[in-house]
Structures are given as C-alpha cells and as structure tokens.
Symmetry: C2
Subunit: 531 residues, 2 copies
C-alpha cells in the first residue's frame, strides 16, 4: 500500500532543517497547476524518468487541473465536472504535488516558502531549478465596489459560485414578487468584458437562466435581462470581423443585450455602474477583466515588462538567471515573428515542452533549444461549433434533473467592505437590522419618514458608524440611511458584531460613545429640523 | 415561456398587504422539504388537481430533495449527486416552492414568517391548513467544543463538507511530513455514534480515505486510523444481534477501530475527548448524535412530548388544532401497536399520504382515516448489500478520476468560538501570528523558551486577550500559550481583526490597554522569574 518511492519522504522535509544532509536529490520546483505548469512537470517526468538524482515538486493552490477552455460550461451544467477537472496526482504520478499557495520565493537562497496550512508555521522547500507558471489574476483593486460586488471568472470555484448565485437570484425573484425594484435587480445578469472569456460566460449564463427560469411559477421569462458590457464597438477583438459580427448576431438572437463602447466603472450591491454613469440594476455581476500579474511574480526581484510580465530569453530562461524559467501567461515570450505569445493553452503546452527540454539540457550540460512555435493558424472560437449548431434551430440544451440544485457554499462571512453610489439606500426605516456599518469614506444622510415625506436628521462622514442601534436593541431600523457622496463602508454582520460587542473590552462602550457624539435624537423624541 | 398558472403570482404576495383581497385561493402550507413534506405535497397535488379554490405552498431551506439513505455515499463519491438529490420544482410541478428558512409561525393569525432574503424585511404567507414536517436537527450545544470542532451529518452540505475536509487532511499530511504530532491528527478520522447513520458514515469515510491515500507519495497507509465511538457495547441497536456482530466484523476487517462503551464528551480543534477522558488526536471529527427537535417546533405553542416531539392524534392532526398536521421525525406518531413510529423514510411517506387524504377530507367535510401502517417487517441495513458483497474479496470501489477533487468551499469565516482542553497548546512561540484570542472562560498560561525549558510569564483568565502583539507588529508569536483549565475563547482571524482594529473607534486602543494591564514584558527584556 505504500508508494514505491520510499525515499521521497525525507526529501520533502523543511529545507532549513535538511539543507546540510548528504545524498539529497536535486530538485526542479514548478509553481502553478495550469496548462504551463502541469505540462512542464509531465515533460520533466518523462525526461528524468529512471534518474535517481533528480526529483520534481509542483506547487498548486488546488489539487486539480482545470481544462480552462471548458470552464464557462460549468455555469449551465451542460458539462459534467469530470470533463473539466482532473486530480493533479493522477496526472503527475512521479511529481510531488504540494497543495499550498506560495507565499514567497527567495531567489538568492533558492527556496520557496509555502503559505501556512493547519498550523501557522512557514513551510520551506529548496530548489535547484525553478519553473514559474502561476498565470495571471483578475484584480479589481482601484475599481470602486468591484472587489466586494463583482464576481471574477478565473477558476472552478468562480464558475460554481456564479452558478449558485444565479440560481439564488431566481429563487429570490420567485419569492419577492411584491417588490418590483428588487425583482428587476434579481432578474438582470451582467457580464463585463467582450473578449473570449466574457462572451463564453454570457452565452452560458444566458442559456442557463432562461432555461431553468421556466420552472419558477412566479417568474415571467420576459422579465429576464442578460447584458454584456464591452469597451469597444465590436465584441471579440481576437477574431476576424466576420466572425465578430456573427457572434454578436447569435448572442442577440438568444436574448443577450450588448452594451458597447462602455466600460464597467464601479459596482454596488444593487447595480453595475458604466463609464457614462448609467446604472444597470443587478444582483449578479461578473467581470472577466482586468487581468493582472500574479502577486507572487509582482513581488519577485526579476526583470519584468511594463505590464508586469517576466522577461525571458528565447530559451524561456528568465534574463540573468541560469536556473529560473518562466512560461504561460506570467511571462512575455517572443514568438518566431517577434510578437509576444498570446495567452492560450496551445502556446503554454508548447512552452512547457521546450522548458523541460532545456532544463534537462542545462542539468546535463547539453545545448538549449529556442522556442519557435508559430501557432496553429488563426484561433477558432472554442466551443462555438456546438453553440452555433444549436443556435439556428433554437434547441434548448438538455437540462439534467440535478441542474437546478443550489448548493449553499460557505458559511457566514465576517466583516467586509461595501461600496455605495450617491442616491443608493443602505437600509430603510422599518427593515430588520442585520448589520452594523462604519463609514470609511464618502458621506451619507440619515432620514426619517415624517408625514408623507422624509426628514433629514443628520449627515454622516468618515469614521462614523451607523446601524448599531437596531442590533443593540433588536429593533427594526429607526431611520433610513442613504448615500450622498460615493462611499466605502465596513459592514459587520449581526452575529459577528454581537460576538465582538459582548467580548471585546471597550468595543460596545466605544460604539455607544459614537452614538452619543452623533447626537441622533432617540426614537421617541421629535426629530430636529433639517440642517 | 410563462407558466400556464398565471394567477399564481397574485396569490403569493405578502399576506399583510393582501389579506383583504377577494377571490383569493385557500392554501395548504407545508413546512419541510424532506420525505414527509415532499410526499405530502405530492399527494396533495394529486388530490387537489383541477381545483381552482386551493393551492399548495412548500417551504424548504434548500431547493432540492435529498434521498437521505444514500447521503453517506456522497463522502466516497461512489455515487453521483444525480442519484442523491432532485430539484424540488421538478418533483412538485403544481406547488409553489419557497426556498427560505421559516423564522416563525403565528398559530392564532395563521401566518408563516420566512427568514429574510436579499433584503432584510420579513416575508409573511398566510395558511388555511398547515403541515409541519421540518424534521430534527443535530444540536451540539452543551457539549464543550462540539459546535466549533465537530461536523454534523444531516444534509448534503455536511456530506460534501466532510469529504472536502478529509481530502484537505490528506493533502496536509502529505506536506507536513516533518511534524509527527500534526500528521497523526491529520491521518486520524473519528465518527461518534454507532447507529445507522454513524455506521454508514464511518464505513464510507474509511473506504474513501484508504483508497485515495494511495495517491499521496508521503502517506503510509499504515498511519491511517478510522475510529467509530459508540456509547453501548454493541453497534447498531436498531438491528438483530446477529446482524450487529456481522456489521462489527466487517468494519473491523476493513480497518475501522471500534471504541465501545464510550461517549464523545468534548472536542478541541486537535482531539476528540471521550467520556473516560481519553483524547483521540484528530482533525476530522463527525458526530451523528444527538438528534434534537427543530428550533421552529421548539418555539411553537403546541402540545409536545417530553423529548419535544409534537403530539398528534390518530389522524395526524396536532392535538387541539383543526388545521395543523404534523408528520415525520418532528412528531410523535403512534403506530397500530401503540409504539411510536421510528424515524424512517418508509414511515414518513405513509404518513404523508394519510395526512394529504385527511386534509382534503377536512376541507370537503368528509371523514378522516387513521394512520395504521405497521412497517414492512424488520429493516435491513440500507446499502449494506453492496458493501457486504465487496467486503469478502476486499475489492476496492471504483474511484473515478474526479473523486479526489478538493473544492474550496466558502471564504474566510469571521470570529468564532474555540474550545481547548487542559494541556493543549493554543500557539507556540515562533509561529506566525494568524489570529487574536479573547479568553471567555477557563485559564491559560503564557510561557517562553529559556535555556532548554519553558518559563512561566503569566497566567490569563476570563476577559483577557492574547495573541494580539503578533498581529499588530506582524512578528512571530513571542510566547507560547497553553490551556491549564478547560477554556472557551473567541478567536478572531488576522484579516478580520485588521479591518476592525483599523476602523472601529477605540478598538485598537482598548487592546493596547489590555496588553499594558497584563504587564507582559517586551521581548527584548529578560522575562520575570516564574511566580
């Protein structure tokens, strides 16, 4: 039952404790479990087979490999998970797979530090050759509200999360049939970014929600909106103009609205805000842009292009470093004709083979070969063959009986940031108090119903908190809070706040002081005239 | 595309706003999406078919029905989700399904209040007849550490969670091969409760971890322990003594340790504590006991037995209430021979049919019939046919390529409680500071390494906090904290604490005061002599 490789255990121990031990194997460490990393490890396994002096380690955040081009199909469930993911340990039988995030790399010491697991101590592994292939990340920083309110679409968890959110929106629209504003938000689905990924996502999302909505007795198909927002005048800049027009026609015919020459500028919990200020009411917002360098690469003292990609030579070696190689989307790799490689699986897998060949050549003192892959002609739209086939007859994809299952993933999150646009209501008088807010930037007004209208009680600025009375007293909100100047707040759920207020020395007292300082009149007294 | 039942929308609106409207349909509302609730709604759909004056609503926490007897097989993945769950909307085409928790029931006003959805306002529905079938819950309250450190096994999320945790434990054991104490915890899996559910769970969990562990290069099969803890001298009190002995033999042969005449008394993050004080080191602890009344039923002013089950008459009507019916595990239902019905799917489905018949009879003024199902003889072990077949040949179940996929569900949780036993270390000097603690009850000592031993710096009691320095300074822990008297702490993750400390008025200051009050000497100074 034990693995035949009984010496692997010793080699895996912390570098610090074992650096000096004799007879230790030399190591290639691969960072990244995507196309580039996994194909590189596989190629290395083949080339180093039967050699006792070298071993391969691969770091990956997840213990599986995702076939990225098919990821959007997870949304609609027209494809099983089996077809999209594979366990890394089955793909890489002779590689030691370490399922941890990488925290840092020390290029001088030739070590990698993994993020902590169950115990908060550092886990360090040494390397002789390093292959960097962590890919890129979707980075919403700098776009107000996107980190909190928009979903990225990069990995399997994102795809499953989007699917669960879309189902939850339908469930809630079915219940909330007496609240037309909320219903409109719930039945509108927005995708930002009209490149490959965005177009695939909006197509799958559109098919999915329109199909399953028919099972909801209180949802009218005609109330569903699916919107694609794109910054240019045509979607799919990657393909020929003819194909672009064709794809746009199919999307429109299936019910997708195209909003062109607009960018997603900001997001709130209730709307996507476009560059011209238009707000599209929605509770389900996906953004496939922008793609940024991986934070690990960002932190490395290695030569990079202006947009943060690692600079490599024709042999895929990072400039100035004999034992560091970079491939996939994290690197800027020139093709034979001088243009940089596009970020496709096709190119990544070819780079992986060349890097593996060159690493073994470097180990054995052989000569390196250049990466000269030219690409397999103009790319086709992945997966669109099937979609185009069914589009003309408007045949709906077969929905299996389980397709509608809404798994409740995750528990209650803790404190988070939230973003509000001017005019947006944080909560209404009379609603249940479910969270406390601390205003970090921007301004809000506190209003109370009075006669047929609203009366301004006070205005709040940075550092002030609100909403705490409902929690302390378990009463409904005694006022409405509305944003007047774009604001970011720290939002603390009731359960969380209760735990902290009861136990953290001084917290409750400090909240009560803030309330007193604000001078908000108690509910029983007549409110002060507006200032 | 719209549903043919175009009038359903109006009927679903909030009872408060619509109570007075004329021509409104009468309603049967079913609470619960398990066997009893779903079969009752299906029977009502058949009996009320074609009648325009009645409609059916069903409240369920999830939007799918789980075939409970097969739930343990989700752990090993030997069965697909398709075979275990079905979307409620496909099973109940003429019922309005409301996917919300029920918050309260007002028996006098005949209304049900649903828990809030996206917006924090109450959602109220009226009923004419009410069918209560919410089942029971696993309630760990009163057992120290179980709410925080033990996993229940009731629903699909529990099964998927257990599976993900088991895989994570194997991944981490594979990485942490230089920490024998942690490795032992990671490779030990404990299930408490030797009834049907516990036995099924331990059997599946055992098969699963022993199978997939072979793919981990640094895990030795012989280091894996799977333990079943049971309070009596024999497992499976529900079946005949012969079958009990047989099941015990099979479990042992497949590698499960049976710990008999012991109860699970408490749990920490690192161990299961038994009634005699034994601690079994583990990071994966499941408890299938105890089963308690659903909180909703608990809060209802209806007649109940001593153990909290609803008292019904022979027609399944709650004593003293013409329009309230109860079935399934929430009710105490006498069988023809006087003994109460066991909590099985077999009985629940028969009760559902009788309740539906009687509700329609009550509506139409017909006569009610009594529930007189005697059970289909002695129950067999569900699913054991298959297991027994494979046990003798020790054939391992086919593991599909995806079976090893570890989905990272959920995000970072917020503040939580944690429980520690005397002698247990909270953190060690030198580890990374990843959370802050507030001691709620019990006592801990703070120690620092000195020469070859440890030096006592101070002792902490309720109300004191610790671990905050590492967060404020981003430095490693400068002391070890160990429990001396069983203690409960509030544990706040670094990210959470950082958000709060930076933004909550006075919080950081109040922590710094506590630190000063404790009088812990700064790291640079020599520690005080032990007291």
């Amino acid at each position: 039952m034990t693995t035949p490789d009984v010496t692997a255990g010793a080699a895996g121990r912390n570098a610090g404790a074992n650096e000096e031990r004799g007879g230790m194997k030399k190591r290639v460490v691969v960072v990244g479990g995507g196309f580039a990393g996994v194909y590189a490890a596989q190629a290395l396994e083949r080339k180093l087979r039967g050699r006792d002096d070298w071993e391969i380690l691969l770091f990956s955040r997840d213990n599986y490999f995702v076939f990225q081009p098919m990821l959007p199909e997870v949304i609609s469930g027209t494809i099983g998970l089996t077809d999209v993911v594979s366990p890394l340990r089955r793909l890489l039988r002779r590689t030691h797979v370490v399922v941890r995030d990488v925290e840092s790399i020390d290029v001088a010491a030739r070590t990698i530090t993994a993020a902590p697991g169950f115990r908060p101590h550092a886990h360090v592994e040494r390397y002789d050759h390093l292959v960097l292939a962590p890919g890129t990340v979707t980075d919403f920083r700098g776009l107000p509200g996107l980190p909190e309110h928009a979903l990225p679409f990069k990995n399997l968890a994102d795809a499953l999360d989007l699917r669960a959110r879309a189902i939850r929106a339908l469930e809630e629209a079915d219940v909330e049939d007496d609240d037309p504003v909320l219903r409109k938000q719930l039945l509108t689905f927005v995708v930002a970014g009209g490149g490959f990924s965005g177009v695939e996502v909006v197509a799958e999302l559109n098919d999915f929600v329109r199909n399953v909505a028919r099972l909801y007795r209180r949802i009218d198909q005609r109330d569903i909106r699916v919107v694609l927002v794109h910054g240019q005048s045509e979607i799919l800049p990657e393909v020929s103009p003819k194909l672009r027009a064709f794809a746009a026609r199919i999307l429109r015919r299936r019910g997708v609205e195209l909003v062109l020459n607009q960018r997603l500028k900001a997001a709130t919990a209730e709307a996507a805000i476009l560059s011209d200020g238009t707000a599209i009411p929605t509770r389900t917002l996906v953004s496939t842009i922008p793609s940024s360098p991986h934070p690990l690469v960002d932190a490395l003292p290695l030569p990079k292009t202006k947009n943060g990609r690692l600079i490599v030579d024709g042999h895929l070696r990072v400039s100035g470093h004999d034992n560091i190689w970079a491939l996939g989307d994290c690197a800027s790799i020139p093709t034979a004709d001088g243009a940089p490689c596009p970020p496709t699986a096709q190119h990544a897998t070819r780079q992986a083979q060349v890097a593996a060949d060159n690493i073994v050549a470097a180990i054995d003192g052989g000569s390196l070969r250049a990466f000269d892959f030219k690409g397999l002609g103009k790319m086709k739209l992945p997966g669109w063959g099937r979609r185009i086939k069914v589009a003309s007859s408007w045949t709906l994809d077969l929905i299996l009986p389980t397709e509608l299952i809404q798994l409740r993933l995750g528990g209650t999150a803790g404190a988070t940031h939230e973003y509000f646009e001017p005019g947006q209501t944080v909560f209404n008088e009379g609603e249940l108090g479910d969270r406390v807010y601390i205003l970090l930037s921007g301004r809000a007004e506190v209003l109370r119903r009075r006669g047929g209208g609203e009366q301004l009680l006070t205005t709040l600025g940075p550092g002030e908190c609100f909403g705490e009375m409902a929690l302390l007293d378990s009463a409904p909100r005694n006022a409405t809070v509305r944003c007047v100047e774009a604001m970011t707040v720290l939002s603390i759920p009731k359960r969380e706040f209760g735990l902290l207020a009861a136990n953290v020395p001084g917290l409750r007292a400090s909240f009560e002081q803030v309330m007193a300082r604000r001078g908000l009149p108690p509910v029983a007294e007549p409110p002060a005239p507006p200032s």
